[in-house]
Symmetry: C2
Subunit: 340 residues, 2 copies
Amino acid sequence: MTLDDRKLEVLRAIVEDYVATQEPVGSKALVERHQLGVSPATVRNDMAVLEEEGYIKQPHTSAGRVPTDRGYRLFVDRLSRVKPLSPAERRAIERFLLGAVDLNDVVHRTVRLLAQLTRQVAVVQYPSLNRSSVRHLELVPISTTRIMLVMIADTGRVEQRLVEMPAPVPDDDVADLRRRVNDKLVGKPMIEAPALVQALVEEVAPLRRPAMSVLASVLLETLVEPHEERVALAGTANLARGGLLDFKGSLRPILEALEEEVILIKLIGEVEPSMTRVRIGDENEIDNLRSASVVSTGYGPGSTIVGGLGVLGPTRMDYPGTIATVRAVARYVGELLAQN
Amino acid sequence: MTLDDRKLEVLRAIVEDYVATQEPVGSKALVERHQLGVSPATVRNDMAVLEEEGYIKQPHTSAGRVPTDRGYRLFVDRLSRVKPLSPAERRAIERFLLGAVDLNDVVHRTVRLLAQLTRQVAVVQYPSLNRSSVRHLELVPISTTRIMLVMIADTGRVEQRLVEMPAPVPDDDVADLRRRVNDKLVGKPMIEAPALVQALVEEVAPLRRPAMSVLASVLLETLVEPHEERVALAGTANLARGGLLDFKGSLRPILEALEEEVILIKLIGEVEPSMTRVRIGDENEIDNLRSASVVSTGYGPGSTIVGGLGVLGPTRMDYPGTIATVRAVARYVGELLAQN
DNA sequence: ACTGGCACTCGTTACAGTCGAGTGCCAGTA
DNA sequence: TACTGGCACTCGACTGTAACGAGTGCCAGT
């Protein structure tokens, strides 16, 4: 069964009205608010077909129609054009991001901005180490057997880790270690780290081998461990806006999911170049988020991608607007990163 | 009017029952569940007095009584003894905190642990820079005019900041700057930073003055700016537990407050030595939190205090248990910090 | 292929009545 | 004087009934 143009138009009208009013929309109201050129009865017939095909449904027999996840999907794929941002919004984005002083600040500001513009929960991933390279490594002696490793990535991200040495390490040796790791790793992408670190251990004199191999294992942990992905979150208060009508009652499962970094990473971290991903309701792999939608995209300097960002909201969200905002913010952040 | 012992006992019974059942408690149920040795009628008279004094109230006529903020206050101050933790809880705390690899990890684990044990929202402040001293300063050249400043505090906290130089700075000069700032600041408490930094600028050769003074201003920003306090948060999902009965309906104001770092700092950051602070309902200065209670305390190695931690929950919370848990966690974290 | 009309469904609202937990008060008792 | 048993009263929660109306499906007519 293929839907003719008018039926699609009816679906669009239903989605738009429902998103705007949050109430099931009936045939009469629909013809009043949109220029469909036909009578309510005709619209009802179209609705019956749309319902049969699973694009809309009735909460109960004598109520209007509400889009299903499938209906939103069709809407997003074929019926909506991306709204251009208003000049005011563009200005807001620029103003907000200009004042950032370092990477933490950029991420922090971005996530708050995104939450504010979309009025939903925003998530921003810190530039992934997997996709960046080493700018500098620093070793700071804390005690005779403890050294703090500080790693600075080219994206501006900084990670630190305490290294517990098997035996006391004199300052000279620390300097030597520092020189060696920097010579070997600076400028290299993190993905190459395992091989390079391995080489480091092999090249070093047998006497210093133990120290270097401990350092090496911490280095690997810092540079390539998957759990080193980090995210920032903002706008959870927006969840409590829609009078608890969204999200089928309880916010609990949603809040629980948002507390798990792993889940957040999964949500916005899997990004392909220049693609905006929209996951609607049941399309979400995470059970707790089956009543929510996620719009996510990648960002990075130029056309490369170093991380993901996105928002989470009720399935009944303004998809065109949200998609536009998410994309725009991602683009601005990319530009900002390119400047550094 | 002074309350005799039995009236206090009645109040305690009301608080305990209400906290346990979440339902207004009546005179009959009270004499059944507690050994008060008197009849319901007598209890009713006592209740009338307690109500007159503002310790309890009726949600509506012909319902049981519910403690007021004032009632909880009296309960906390005079009627409750701190519950000792169960061995299982102690073990949980130790196990949870033992695996921590660095400060971030400690804070992260602590906040999650607290949230889990108390089943409420937990907040942990990172060790305050105001109360710690400088362990090491590192300057990493990013480009000819950009230097990244990395500061390591003795608590293990690491802060980084980008320094934008007015003119290109050769590597030798960077090394010189590095040596100078370290010589001057390492081992010194942050509070002394302003004077020391001032001296640094004055001591340097006029030629290098501009570079040093830019660096100095960023240093000050990093070391003493009040907004450099940081916090970690966990357990927001617990807010949505009590079927929305707690918190007078909407979670929105609470979630909003929790998004503001400044508010969180205010909540748990103002701590005096070895004092556990309990703020109940209206006692909170922040309007959005008038329907919540906050239990907070300070922590730090030995008997010093480097930061605060605490939990936030409904006014109807298990105060003795919560206070005990908060204190215990604070003590363990202190010990952990002392070891490093 | 569309439309107007009509019977039907069913959630919502309003109202009345009953039930019962809980209260306040009072007279009676140790 | 302090407590108790008894009793009338209050008022929210629940139940049942009725009216309402938004919205539908269907069908005959254009």
